[in-house]
Symmetry: D2
Subunit: 158 residues, 4 copies
């Protein structure tokens, strides 16, 4: 999938159906005084898994099916610094038989333009064999609420 920076830069809050607010941490800032690029991925993981756990019935320790990350990406448009509070917006951009692609945008409090947009692709696997399995119906219902716009992603090679 090609992540077109110009398009991504146009992302606004209204593009995302699910939001969580995160307080940044002191150690998120690196020596240059901004939230380190790696930290965004920790936040992606956090909103995705919060959604899976609280809305789709995932239990990381007990579910027969878990999601493993096979690829991830991020575009950074404006720096964010501790102690700011950020709002994360989540949507699903592609939903396949056993995989799903999420997009997460990071918004500074009070701003409508995203500071960064990224995401990752989960392949759902059996928690023991770690082989891919079709996404269960409960999970799929949860994803359907995250506003996948199917036509937009027909050609995406995730």
């Amino acid at each position: 999938m090609s992540h077109d920076g110009d398009k991504l830069k146009q992302r606004r809050r209204s593009d995302y159906p699910y939001f969580l607010t995160y307080r940044t941490r002191w150690s998120d800032n690196d020596q240059y005084g901004h939230m380190n690029n790696s930290v965004y991925y920790h936040l992606f993981d956090s909103i995705v898994n919060t959604y899976l756990i609280t809305r789709c019935g995932l239990s990381p320790t007990h579910s027969q099916q878990i999601g493993l990350v096979v690829s991830s990406w991020c575009r950074f448009f404006a720096p964010v610094s501790f102690p700011t509070v950020v709002d994360l917006g989540l949507r699903v951009t592609s939903l396949g038989n056993s995989s799903v692609a999420y997009e997460v945008a990071v918004f500074e409090e009070g701003k409508d333009a995203a500071s960064a947009v990224g995401g990752y692709t989960h392949v759902f696997v059996d928690s023991e064999s770690r082989r891919s399995t079709p996404i269960g119906s409960g999970m799929r219902e949860g994803f359907d609420k995250l506003g996948v716009k199917r036509t937009e992603f027909v050609n995406s090679k995730l």
Copy 2:
């Protein structure tokens, strides 16, 4: 300073004058499914520095005086797990000429008993020479509001 586990276990929300709420992150949980012990220290750093920046005028990149951690500690009473939200309470337990000891308690949402209590000691230094200097008046006023109970710490060896 000896950190008496029995006393610390009695800490309640009313013991702390300043609070911040933090959302836990997916990667805070370690393999045992609980927030890793190291993560508590990231949270300590976060509430302390948020207070210093927003209430005491600290600018980590520009202030002439910064606080360096010389010792830290934590007692863990009950596990906390992502995606829970935690409330952190902060107080100052000892205030010297150039050093200050903070205590931070971690409360799960809706609980009045602390899941963990810990803290650390900052020595304030010149940001360039890194030599200790007396705590400035703006900073000291901020600490005074954090409820140091002086008698309790007369003999503490920080």
Copy 3:
């Protein structure tokens, strides 16, 4: 830039001119018992900045020119788990006037196929104004040693 998973999966140790060995950490593993996807980006940052500091004269606190990450990506092929030791290989895949794209591969000890391949793009900026500036000659010489294969990236849109 499109990151073709099939090609990336073919990466071998011999594709990279610079290597560092990293010991994984307990907290790198997430609840699923594998190194969390976010941690790979911490490692990318580490090998890139080690190279910039030790081979290209970068001083993060004093240099007039610093590199800011504008985009990053990773493909995960096989899980890695603490306490394994990983070898990171670094190469430059594209070098522009003020930007450079790095690719980093993560190899488990003793294996020649990469467990993951990713990277990011640095735009070099003035450390104060944070405006992009042409990459200095010292830095550029360092990048030239990292084996950029220009033809391969003619059409890359970073």
Copy 4:
């Protein structure tokens, strides 16, 4: 347990029977350009668990008995900065029926005085019920090799 800073400052490499070398990471440095205090605890966890896994037969995902941290502490004597390489020394300072106290020292490459000394106490619990259980014989043998000096810790209140 009272951690006497003056004594701890005297720790040398010869005080520790087990060593591992860790490469620091870019994000270990905080805004002040030094390894953040929280990161030391990540390193403590790493050497302790590496020892438990590689020398004492611990399998974090399968063992019936796992160690949970009930208290931790650290004293910081000299700053350490990325990209330095640090040597960690580990010893056991107290061994009870179901708990063990570790001490870890952080040495910069080539230095014999510790930059920091800290540690934590593990209580061993049943991996399912999470109730404390007597330390198994395999684990205990591993601890015996880590040089506990019993007399020194007779009065420690862990």
